[in-house]
Structures are given as C-alpha cells and as structure tokens.
Symmetry: C2
Subunit: 457 residues, 2 copies
C-alpha cells in the first residue's frame, strides 16, 4: 500500500488540474449574473465526489444556489464525519489589482493564484482528495458525508432550511470543515472560536436630485456629510463602538483565558510591515490578539455617493450609502445588534435627510469544544504530519453556519484550516500555498485514521 | 424691417435644429475619452458664428481643449462687446436617472431636455442667434467678439494663458456672458456676485490591500472610518466650517447691504417642496439667501471606497477617497483656502493611515459693478423685453474665469443669465425653458441696441 505522501507526489499534476477546473468557474454567489456558474460549480463538485468513490452524489435545489450532497456509508459501527465546504466565492473587484486573471488559476512561486484558491475551493477540495486516497487505499473506517453549499459568502441563507429538511440524512458525529487559517506553516493551529456577523447597508437621501454645489451649497444638507457624521459616530477616540447596548451581552473572559489566548504568537512588526502600515489601531485595553479573537469590531466595507469619476464635478449629491460589517463575539445576538445599530443611527440622524438601514445578513459567534474525540484525533493527526501539536486559536472571521449546525443538527464542528493570513482571501491575488494544500490533504487523511482509532478505544 | 419677435417665431424650428446639433455632441471636458468631441463642438460653434455673419472665426489650440474665436469689427467708433461662453458640459452620470438620452435633445412640456441645454450650450447659443438677427437686420452698431472655451467645467485651466497671449485681440468695453440663472420668468434678475471655488480631492490609504473584515477588523485602522471622521470634522454643529483661518479674509457686509440682499424673494416652502426635503440646513446666524450669496460653503461632491456592488462583501478596504468643493466669497483666496484645507486635514489625520490631498481647480469670487454703461443698458433691455427692471442678485455658483478677465484683460463682465434653478444643470434631466431661450435672444439683441445708444450719449 502506497503511503499518502508518495500518492500525492505521483498524482499532484492530476489533482491540481482537477482543482483548477473548479477554480475556473466564476461562481460568485452575490452577483445574479453568475447564476448559471453556481450550477456548473455544483455539478463539478458532484462529479469530483463520484470520482473520489462516494456512493451517492446529488444536487439539491434551494430557493437560492444549490447544495451538493454525497455520502459513503461503510458500517453502522463506524463513526460518521460530515464534511462541509462551499463552492461559492467572493466578487473579484478591484479587478485591476489582480496580477493574473482571477478565474484563470496560475502557479507562481509555489502558490496557486485564483479567486477561491483558498476560500474555499482549494480548502474544500483537500477533503475530496483525502477521501479519494483513503477509499482507493482501502483505509477508510469512517462513514463520510459531504454537504457543499453555494451561499457561504452571502450568509448561507438557505442552508438552515436545508439542514432542517434533511436532518436524518445529515446525522454525523462531527462536522469537518476547512475554511479558516493556521498561524504559519511551521506553527499549525486549529480554530476553536469564530466571531459572529451583522452586515447592514445604510442609505442617506437628501434632495431628490443631484444639485449644483454652488447654487445649493450651504443651504441644503449634503447627504455625504450626514453619512460621514453617522459613520464617524460609531467609534469613540478609544476605538470603542458607541452603539448603546452593543457590549451588554458579551461574556467577559477570565484573566486565565486571556492569558492563554495571548500565548498565540503575534509579531506586530512583521504584521505592520506586511500591510505597510505605521501603527496598529483598535479598542484600548485589549491586545491585538484579543481585539481579533474575543472583542467585537465594526468596519465600513464600502461607501459611495455623488461623483466618483475623473476630474471634478461640483455637485451636492442626492444620496450617499455605506455597507457596514460588525463582527460579534459570544453571546452577542446578530439580530439584536442589527436592531441596536439601526435604532442608534435613526436616533442620531438629522431630519434634513431620510435614512434607510437594511440588514443584509448575519450569523452567531461560535466556540468549538476541545474535549471531544474529533478534536483529540485532529491533534494527533497534526502531530504526525507537522511534527507538532496544533495551537488552539480564535479567529476574527465568521462562519455563521457553524452555529446553525450545532443548533439545528446538534453536531459540533471541527475547523481544520490550512490557509495563511497572507492568502489574501476576499482580496485581489487570492492564493494558496501548494505545500499547505498537499499538507492539508495529508492531515485530513490522517485525521480519519486517528478518528476511527480513537472512537474504537 | 422685421422685428425680433416675428423673426424668432418664423425661424424657431431652424434655430432649435441648429442648437440641437450642438447639444448632440457629447463634449464632456472632464473625461479624456471625449477629446474628439471637444474639437467637434468647437468646429460646430465656429461654423455657426460664420453663418451668423461674423467675419473671422478661428479655432485656437491650447494644451487642453481648443478655444473658438470670432469677431465682427464694424467701426472704431463703436463700443466693443466680447461674448464669452463655453461649449463643454458636465458628465451625465447617474445616467439611469435621465428620462431621455442626455445627448439626444428632446422637447417636452415646453422645455429642451439635454446635457448642456442650459449650461452653457443653450445660453451661449442665444448670443449667436441675437447677433445673427442684428447683422441680418443691419441694426448692429457695436463691434462684437466671441471667445468660446471648452474647459469651463474643469476650471478654465488654459484660458488665462490664452487671454494673456491674445490680449490685443480681445480688447473690449465689456464682457457679456450667459451662464447664470434669473429668479423666475416673471422676476428677471442679473447676477452681480459670484462665489469663488476651491476643489480638492482627498485620498486616505490604510493597508496595502483590501483585507478580510473579520480577520483584520478591530486591529487595522479602516481608511473609510478615517475619511468619515475627517469629513465630519469640517463643519461644527452650527454649520460653521471648522478649518482654522477659513473665514479670516472675508469682507463682512454692512447691515444695509444684507438688508438689500434679503429683499430678493425666497419662498422657503416651495424650495423645500421642489427638492423634497423636510428642512433647510446651513450656517447659523444667516438667512438662506445670505448663506448662498455672501457666505462660503463646503460640500463633499463625491465619496468612494471599498465594495460598492450588489449584496455584501466583508472587507476592510485599502483606500477611501472624496472630492470636496468649497465656494468662496470676497476676499477669500482659493489657493490660500486650499492650503488651509490641506494643512487642517494633515493635522487631524491619525498616523494609522496615509493622507493625500490634491487641489484640482480653483477660482476667485467676483463682484460685478452696477454703475457702468453696460449694466445700465442691460436694465433697459430687460425693461423692454420683460416689462420690468431686473433685480441684482448674488449667485452661489462660481465662474472663476470672470475674475481672470478682470485681472488679465482689465475688462468687467456682465452676467445676463436666463436659466432657472429648476433647469437641473450638472444634474440628470438638465433642461432649458423654450420661452427663456427665445426671451434671452430678444433681451441680448435689445442689449446691443441700448448699449450702442447709451455709449453714444
């Protein structure tokens, strides 16, 4: 029997070609013009799962983008793993900053460059290939299910209903997903905490049309000024979020927990250098690691209004808009936070303009247990493939569906991420290190061996 | 000899068809893709001036868009009028708000709809047609010169050099231009004051790429937050501009002057209704008419940064930008104001980001004299055509070149505007009332008759 390292070396070209086929499909879930591409990506995954040796593979329609499901049930005595991944990707703008076309994957300096190279096509495909190896080499002693959705980047809007409708089909002992990062290739880590999310859009309307800034300026309130004031009012000078009640529900961490968290290595100088910034920013009273891991944050993700073209146009615009993302921590409730945000803006907005606040999507924060067999199996797998135990970390990101899995299916999730922060997910030039991709396949494969072993004990 | 009213009635279709030919040329000066259209518009004007009976018509190249010049010199004993107009227009976005194509002129409900219908192709063309009538009817007893530029909407960047280079060619007793509004069709007015302008662009750069708002939010300063704070810091709660030194040079008006100014009719309820706003805004301590006429103002004309497309994208953007227009009053200096603005922003911007401020264009405020023969001739002309004397008003708008004419050529300007505030210049659905267009031609024609008469006295 061929070991996995040899297997991957022998088949690396073929494996990458299969991944590239998936990466070439521009499955941007937020843009309606890509509707057909969503089906193409789902179909591609289905065929890849059948080729990997899964017995059943099916595409389920939803009111949004479809869900791919496949399974391999070997024995009722085996533990069952449900793999979750998503085939949808983020938009690619600003397109001019990409060094190669986002949907023409390219390998440069040991990295795969493409939208989705990491998030989450690259990371999701590691699972397909790990299972393919285990099935081909007759080592699989787990039942395996795959559920791959197409709406993760737009809030997994229909997956909760899908889970409710197919609860029996989806029973499992653990949900396995790779949609997070590790600290560094030589410092493997497992994400044990995720922030929640509340995402809203704000629109300020002043006069019913764009006005001449000379003939009207100084007498008609400018909606960009109002929007700027509203957004500037969301943080105080200490980086605290000013929305009344925003912090009320947060479960404060003990000093011990904070100390444990701050053991994660953080090289501030290297971090600033990689982003080309002079100074970090954030909520006073917390370390950078805490600000990302255990404190909520609020970011304006986009703003627009008036004339944004070349040169000058002297107008007082009719409208100004912004998109705002709030990252939440246990026990903040995204719906409650969205309401607090909306109420606060309505309270502070002047009556010279009209204000519209729309909630776009949200998700709960998640804390993963570390005392379960799957987590223990994962530790052993990393020890084998990386030569050291993984560090438990808290990510600033959000995978809202993980909380839904717990609530609806009653199944915990294990977040085995093999991305790096430098992978530029959601940004131009998204990439994924080849060595992480292949090490991910090895580690996932080893996880199944360890998991079936541990659950036998 | 046919009177002008009969002449215009007989030839109205022909005159409008000629104007429409000019309106169909998309001569947007700020967009480099329209470079050829600028030449086409200049050529069109040149031919129209030749057809009107001017003797010499020539296109002068500049480092930017060309200048059209034409003249009709009848006698050294006649007074000389230099007509100024511009053939360039503003961009048309947001294009989706136009009810008809901006460069396909259309008459609806007695109005010409097109970009440039008023500003300034429609108003400029009135002069061509007035002179054509006077020449054809052998009534012209003035020398006439036309100077028509293509860079008014981008700050008349090369006209000052053009004036210096052709000072002898441009000698005149008065400069006549129609690029302003009147109060209403039944309340004619002449603009005797214009605000100056300082127009700048602000760019805030944070990290070197768009970042994931979850993985970086709360630790890296968001450039949109900084921009919002900077812009929010430009006004206090009383609508005063907070830039240190901003108001220092303003010549305060006497109580008598303010009383005189406030005699101009202003129907606040109708004004608010037409703009669909609940409440006016502005600097406390001044009436709406004063805020527009004698006080400076600051408006953000455009803002952009991050993700502005459909749906949600959770990023912390690398950059955020805004365009700012400041309208100035006597004796504010646009260059000094631009420096004060730039210094203030640099002073208050945090070192978590990089700030770039670029001055795009500027112009001095202008006060027109009312005790000169040309102004008196204009009063008589309005009395004849409108049945009442015009009210002297101060406009909030800026025509920076008017100050340059005074400084470089030593010639005062007379601003005979026939537009209305409802013409939506610089906005979607720009329009010009047909009756104002034709009454403008009549009034301009009458001005020449009165002017030659007065100067003979």
């Amino acid at each position: 029997m061929e070991d996995i390292t040899t297997y991957l070396q022998k088949n690396s070209n073929q494996i990458l070609e299969e991944l590239f086929g998936l990466l070439r499909i521009p499955s941007i879930s937020s843009l309606s013009e890509h509707k057909d591409d969503m089906y193409r990506a789902a179909e591609y995954y289905k065929n890849a799962l059948l080729k990997a040796g899964l017995d059943k593979a099916e595409i389920f329609d939803t009111p949004g983008h479809p869900v791919v499901y496949a399974e391999k049930i070997l024995s009722s005595g085996f533990p069952t793993v449900l793999v979750y991944a998503h085939y949808d990707v983020m938009p690619v703008d600003p397109i001019e900053l990409w060094e190669s076309s986002p949907f023409e994957p390219e390998i440069r300096e040991g990295k795969i460059y493409a939208r989705g190279a990491d998030d989450d096509k690259g990371q999701g495909f590691m699972h397909v290939k790990a299972i393919e190896y285990l099935i081909n080499s007759h080592q699989l002693e787990c039942n395996v299910k795959f559920m791959i959705e197409g709406e993760e980047e737009i809030g997994s809007q229909h997956l909760e209903d899908f889970c409710r409708a197919h609860k029996d089909m989806l029973t499992a002992d653990i949900i396995l997903l790779s949609d997070t990062t590790m600290i560094a290739f030589d410092t493997p880590s497992i994400t044990v905490g995720l922030r929640g999310l509340a995402y809203l859009e704000v629109e300020v309307t002043g006069p019913n049309r764009d006005l001449h800034s000379g003939l009207y300026g100084g007498i008609v309130q400018n909606p960009i000024h109002v929007l700027a004031r509203l957004l500037a009012s969301l943080h105080d000078d200490n980086g605290h979020i000013t929305i009344p009640g925003f912090y009320d529900d947060i479960r404060e961490m003990s000093e011990e927990e904070r100390e444990e968290l701050n053991r994660a290595p953080f090289d501030e100088e290297a971090y600033k250098k990689s982003l080309e910034i002079e100074r970090l920013w954030g909520e006073s009273g917390f370390t950078p690691v805490e600000r990302i891991g255990i404190r909520p944050s609020l970011d304006v993700c986009g703003i627009w209004g008036g004339y944004t073209g070349e040169g000058s146009k002297t107008i007082l615009p009719s409208k100004a808009s912004a998109k705002v993302s709030m990252r939440l921590v246990p026990n903040q409730d995204p719906e409650k936070i969205a309401h607090l945000f909306e109420n606060y803006l309505h309270k502070i907005a002047p009556d010279t303009v009209r204000l519209k606040v729309t909630a776009l999507h949200g998700g709960y924060p998640y804390i993963a247990p570390t005392n379960i067999p799957a987590y223990k199996a994962a530790r052993k797998a990393y020890l084998k493939t990386f030569g050291k135990y993984p560090i438990p970390t808290r990510s600033g990101g959000s995978i809202p569906i993980v909380n839904t899995f717990d609530k609806v299916l009653g199944i915990k999730s294990l977040l085995l991420g093999f991305g790096l922060e430098s992978d530029a997910i959601h940004s131009p030039n998204e990439n994924f290190l080849l060595k992480n991709f292949f090490k991910g396949i090895e580690t996932i494969s080893e996880f199944y061996l360890q998991f079936s072993h541990i659950t036998k004990d």
